[in-house]
């Protein structure tokens, strides 16, 4: 099948069937060994399932990289109240486009992962909170869930084991902040998607006031493979602390943008030069944002040293985030792009916390001033000081996400800012 975005360097565990339109059909999925992992999991104790995921070292793919098995083990062992599993399919971090591919090419893989996760945390209901913009994806997912109900993989008494798990596909209505875990819960309850103060943590008081666990689409999509092949098997790829494979969404100025599944620890420069065919039009690499718009950007020099795993990114002063690699060449208008990102955060701030609400709006305004040639060098200091106060002072980390691109770009690409400031001054003097 022709999925044009493939490379020999890839290890396709969860993306194996991307580009194969027959794989959405439940018969095909089952014929290829689908729902075998569910069968295997249901024969185990829930805690044994969690242990296997712990052994794999799988870390959450939604951005924070928290170990999945450990997260699951926070859930009460003796349920006295309903438990919920929430699948975060709100994918809206700029640069990220992997969950959409996972859901549209392989919906049953996700459904199977949801069922296994729900069983492990003793939940009887899964809500897949999917972006409202994803019309086709939502329809594909809906049909797949329906088919899975028909075949007895979802619903009451699954495969005659006495286990009951329902899956609901729920849609958002356009708000980035609903991707934040507690914002998602507020939204699912029919409220504004405003994040909540933690603690209490979702495992104690989650959606509808009940113990809940929330996982990203990609995280749950890996689970069937781990259950089927064992946690140790998953560790054959990646590093000790960041095991396994990961989908890298590459966008921006590369020749072949796309989704590539690679072992964690893969060198960033090889991803750009080999897997993605290098920079477009023979241009030079200037900057990379390796984890989606919320993480600091790095320059070409650091990009050459960066290994793409959770620790490797920290070493060069950034984060892996959701592995959304945004590549910029030497012609990129960097200040404009930073301003565009800050505009985004200012638009998406839910407004509960003053540093975030006011800070993002002001930051955007100053950046625009600089972009238009009206800025001064003091503006850069103001930006640094102001964004400093936006870190660690708010309910959720959206506020920190404003600081990351601004601070990193000013410290690593000060010359880009100064050039705009100087050209503005010259124009003013003339």
């Amino acid at each position: 099948m022709a999925y044009p975005y493939v490379s020999n360097a890839e290890v396709r565990v969860i993306s194996q069937y991307f580009g194969d339109p027959t794989h959405r059909r439940i018969d095909t999925y089952v014929k290829r060994g689908g729902y075998k992992a569910l069968e295997k999991a249901l024969a185990l104790e829930p805690d044994a399932v969690t242990e296997e995921v712990k052994a794999s070292g799988l870390r959450g793919r939604g951005g924070a990289g928290f170990p999945t098995g450990i997260k699951w083990s926070f859930m009460p062992k003796k349920p006295t109240r309903p438990h919920y599993l929430l699948c975060n399919a709100d994918e809206s971090e700029p640069g990220t486009f992997k969950d959409r591919e996972l859901m549209r090419w392989d919906p049953h893989q996700l459904i199977e992962g949801c069922l296994i996760g729900a069983y492990a945390i003793r939940a009887q209901h899964v809500y897949i909170y999917c972006r409202g913009e994803f019309f086709e994806v939502n329809q594909i997912l809906a049909k797949a869930v329906e088919d899975a109900y028909m075949k007895g993989y979802v619903g009451e008494d699954i495969l005659g084991t006495g286990t009951t798990i329902d899956i609901t596909v729920h849609q958002g209505a356009g708000a980035y902040i609903c991707g934040e875990e507690t914002g998602l819960m507020s939204s699912l309850e029919g409220d504004r998607g405003e994040p909540r103060v933690k603690p209490p943590f979702p495992a104690a008081v989650g959606v509808f006031g009940m113990p809940s666990t929330i996982n990203n689409v990609e995280t749950l999509a890996v689970v069937p493979h781990i259950i089927l092949n064992g946690g140790e098997w998953y560790r054959q790829w990646g590093t000790e602390k960041s095991p396994g494979t990961k989908l890298f969404c590459v966008s921006g100025h590369v020749r072949k943008p796309g989704n590539y599944e690679l072992p964690l620890g893969f060198p960033l420069i090889d991803l750009i030069d080999d897997v993605c065919g290098g920079i477009r039009d023979g241009n030079q690499l200037k900057a990379v944002i390796p984890g989606g718009s919320s993480v600091p950007l790095i320059n070409a020099e650091d990009a050459r040293k960066c290994e793409l795993d959770y620790e490797g990114c920290v070493e060069v002063g950034t984060m892996l985030g959701c592995a959304s690699v945004i590549v910029m060449d030497h012609k990129a208008d960097l200040v404009k792009q930073i301003r565009r990102m800050v505009d985004f955060y200012a638009h998406e701030s839910c407004g509960q916390c003053t540093p975030c609400r006011e800070g993002s709006a002001w930051t955007a305004r100053i950046l625009r001033r600089i972009e238009e040639g009206q800025g001064t060098e003091e503006d850069l200091d103001t930006l640094m000081e102001m964004t400093e106060q936006m870190v660690g002072t708010t309910i959720c980390v959206l506020s920190d996400s404003v600081a990351a691109p601004v601070q990193s770009s000013i410290s690593k690409f000060r010359e880009d800012y100064l050039e705009l400031i100087r050209s503005g001054e010259q124009a003013g003097a003339a």
Partner: protein, 220 residues
Amino acid sequence: MSDVPIKNPGWAGNTGEFDLTEEQVRGEDFIGERPLHGGHSSVSATMPYMLIERNPEAELFEGEYQERFKKILTRYPKKRAALLPVLSMVQELRGHVSPESMDRVAELLDLSPAYVRGVATFYTMYNKRPVGRHLVQVCTNISCNLCGADEVLAAFLESTGTELGETSGDGDFTVIEAECLAACGFPTCVQINSRYFENVTPADVPEILEHLRVQAKEDG
């Protein structure tokens, strides 16, 4: 669907390396004529779906919509959770969510009108005012922007003869900017009503608009 051939099949279309049909990529061959309300209550669709044909006066929650509403209520432990799904149904029927519709929804779900307004205005997908038959949302966020999204936006505005956010005289188009649509590897991504167009360049814009005009005539 119109059968005007369109060069940009929505996914890697202009790389020329892809040999599936548009139907297969979009999954239309799989979902077929699957009605929005679906068979199972768990998956009855509740996204803010945008149809070309809409009626701002349409009765709310009758017939099929009444059925859907009942199904939706079964899947949440609290009635209030049905608020977003219900607002989405309003938009599907009427094309936008007016203050009057919000009041009806409040009544239906035993919520205060102020609460419903507070929620409805939080979410960008609910159109608070009527929009053109085709709502064109051009992503201008970073990945698309790096690859020329501003020019694509300008081309849509020019070809439709509109200002940002304004509806064209014939009522066909409203063009707005969108935030990242999660299709960043296929820039520029444009969402038109409920459908994504990907790898859009300014040169594609006239053809896409022509396609939509024909489609509006056929469906409308």
